[in-house]
């Protein structure tokens, strides 16, 4: 590209091509963490708490990525918490009763976990698709369909299980919960190294692609700085998780279970939880879908201007079905993580999750008017919500006050977002 006029001087943020909204959220998150760390005499930012915070965030964060698509298409899904419960009930019943009793697969068989998960994902996807059909084809407002769904699926779960807590769940299944399934230090480092290589390759190929078409690219130092920041964040995160040692008594029990005696002074780190890896994979996949596939492009086009999308030949009804089916599948995936973390299915699993998920997406910059939202923002939103909640619990704030603060923060965050959009001249 030939530039006829001299390029205006760019600020550091512009040169690095950073997303200022994301930067603001990161800043708020860091301030929040430092504040809680100060108030708790350094207990908030310990490897142990970072580990716990991470595994507590996973379930809501997974659903928040799907909620971005739902809200971007100008819809809402109030049923995700209940849908999670139904998917969880399906998986619990499948692994404790249907498979062992009806199909004769013994408890503890390696087939139990995968079959149960497939059943749960299928149930979630089907329920989501059905709600999407009611919204897209029968044109019942999403608010009403999913408000009905909130009651229907919560009580379908209750009906299926007679309201009983079902557990303990299969040992392999429990590995998706957090503490019961981690990679250990060595494999966590291997994965971190792979992730760093992945980031470098992605940045390099994006730059090469731009240059191949003759578009402007940012200066090399900015590219390197970006690569450095991202690699540092990955390695720092894994180092923190690897610094959290499995408690000695728990380790001793693990050795006992294998009929061995734990050597004196033996220690082992938790490392990356499998649930967090699931979240990272979901985040990558959803970002790819949002930015690099036709489906994702149509989701945003429909949110920006439903008529334009329709006139461009996009089947917006089918698109609605797909968006809600995807939301259902993600709610079921969250059900795997949530029930595995609790080691059982309980009647109140996922209660109020719909509000946490919507709040996470909205705090993460998803506009309820549609067309605008990012996956990474929603995940950061989930992390901020969870940090706020568990930080306040650590400080010793009373439970009702915690909820009051979380509610107020949600409203405040949206107001700040409106101000931000007015200043940057973005359409609301």
């Amino acid at each position: 590209m030939k530039n006829t006029s001299p390029a205006p001087r760019k600020s550091l943020v512009q040169t690095l091509e950073l997303d200022t909204r994301l930067l603001g959220m990161l800043g708020a998150f860091i301030l929040l963490s430092l504040g809680f760390d100060l108030l708790t005499d350094g207990r908030f930012l310990t490897p142990r708490n970072v580990f716990n915070l991470t595994i507590q965030t996973v379930s809501v964060a997974i659903m928040a990525t799907g909620m971005v698509f739902v809200i971007v298409t100008r819809n809402i899904d109030l049923s995700v918490g209940s849908l999670l419960a139904t998917a969880s009930a399906v998986m619990a019943m499948t692994q404790t009763q249907i498979l062992p009793d009806l199909l004769g697969i013994p408890l503890g068989s390696p087939w139990i976990a995968p079959l149960a998960i497939v059943a749960g994902l299928a149930a979630g996807t089907l329920i989501g698709a059905f709600q999407g059909y009611l919204i897209g084809y029968l044109t019942i407002p999403a608010f009403i369909v999913t408000l009905g769904g909130l009651l229907v699926w919560r009580n379908t779960a209750w009906y299926m299980t007679n309201g009983q807590t079902i557990g303990p769940l299969d040992a392999t299944f429990q590995m998706f919960g957090g503490t019961n399934g981690t990679l250990g230090a060595f494999w966590s480092w291997v994965l971190a190294a792979l992730a760093v290589v992945g980031v470098l390759v992605a940045l390099w190929s994006a730059r090469r692609n731009k240059m191949a078409h003759g578009f402007d690219v940012k200066p090399l130092w900015a590219e390197l700085a970006m690569a450095g920041i991202l690699s540092g964040a990955i390695l720092g995160f894994v180092a923190t998780l690897n610094a959290y040692q499995i408690p000695t008594r728990r380790l001793a029990r693990l050795f006992e279970a294998r009929g061995e005696v734990m050597p004196e002074g033996y220690s082992e780190a938790y490392g990356l939880p499998i649930s967090v890896i699931v979240l990272i994979l979901v985040a990558i996949a959803m970002t790819l879908i949002a930015q690099r596939t036709r489906f994702g492009r149509y989701v945003f086009a429909m949110g920006g201007n439903p008529d334009a999308a329709e006139l461009s030949g996009i089947n917006t009804r089918m698109l609605t079905v797909k968006v809600f089916a995807l939301m259902g599948a993600l709610a079921a995936l969250s059900a795997v993580v949530a029930s595995a973390r609790l080691t059982n299915h309980s009647n109140d699993i996922g209660v109020l999750d719909e509000l946490r998920v919507i709040a996470a997406a909205v705090i993460g910059g998803t506009a309820l008017s549609g067309g605008i939202g990012t996956i990474r923002g929603a995940i950061l939103g989930a992390l901020i919500m969870q940090s706020l909640q568990s930080g306040m619990a650590m400080v010793g704030v009373d439970a009702p006050l915690q909820n009051i603060v979380v509610g107020a923060v949600l409203v405040l965050a949206v107001w700040v977002d409106i101000l931000y959009r007015k200043r940057t001249g973005e359409r609301l």
Partner: protein
């Protein structure tokens, strides 16, 4: 030789209101036909039947003499019918290239969107239509009326339209941009494209169109050769629904 487009006895009612009542119009290759009439005369509704946005209750459409089934916008595109809507039909939150290729994205071998190729193509076509256009990274909500119009036109032109429908293409534009659209219409016409031009502006129709079809209250008043009539004749048709004595075509 048969006409490029023939719409025969098209009727469409919304509730009890007959928006289009037994209207027949036709269009030849390399010809510009103006569609005139008051707001609510049924021009846009008629044309949306051709572009697949609405389906007629009765009547038939022939493309190159063959009966065409157009039930949605995708069908219309398959017949190389492109529409530039009055409301611009752009997704405001997406950038120029995304809007240009909306519904017909270029993909890589892996099936993922080829953003680079789409932006490169967008730059090429925009350089032809609107050389001053630079805002490729911004969402189209950040563009001016004229720039948005050129994106909408680029969309129709890029995909080799044979039949182009322009619904009030100059309604939101300044004089210079209107001139640009006029030149473009002349150019497309010389390339053998048939154009339906919906307009309020009699002056536009008199200068750009070969023929004009006038509608009133959902009915066709008549079709005339523009060269045979005066501004006042056309006005009479629009306001009084009366065909001039010297009518032809």
């Amino acid at each position: 030789m048969s006409a490029l487009v023939e719409m025969r006895n098209i009727s469409l009612a919304f509730g009890g209101v007959k928006a289009v009542d037994d209207v027949s119009v036709d269009l030849n290759a390399g010809e510009v036909v103006g569609l005139l009439g008051h707001n609510g005369a049924g021009k846009s509704t008629l044309i949306k039947v051709l572009s697949g946005a609405y389906q007629a209750d009765s009547g038939e459409i022939y493309i190159n003499g063959e009966k065409a089934e157009i039930t949605n916008p995708r069908d219309a595109r398959a017949y190389n019918i492109e529409t530039i809507y009055q409301t611009l039909a752009l997704a405001d939150n997406l950038d120029t290239a995304s809007n240009l290729f909306l519904g017909r994205e270029l993909t890589t071998a892996t099936g993922l969107l080829d953003e680079g190729a789409m932006e490169a193509e967008a730059r090429k076509i925009m350089a032809r239509l609107n050389p001053n256009f630079e805002k490729f990274a911004a969402p189209v909500s950040a563009l001016s009326g004229g720039q948005r119009q050129s994106v909408a036109i680029a969309r129709a032109v890029y995909f080799n339209a044979r039949i182009l429908i322009m619904d009030e293409p100059t309604a939101a534009l300044g004089p210079q941009e209107t001139q640009m659209v006029a030149e473009l219409i002349t150019q497309l016409k010389s390339e053998g494209i048939g154009i339906f031009l919906i307009s309020h502006d009699i002056h536009d129709v008199m200068t750009l169109c070969d023929r004009a079809s006038v509608m009133k209250n959902g009915k066709l008043v008549g079709s005339v050769n523009v060269a045979d009539v005066t501004d006042d004749d056309l006005l009479g048709m629009i306001i009084l629904g009366k065909k001039p004595a010297s009518s032809a075509a």
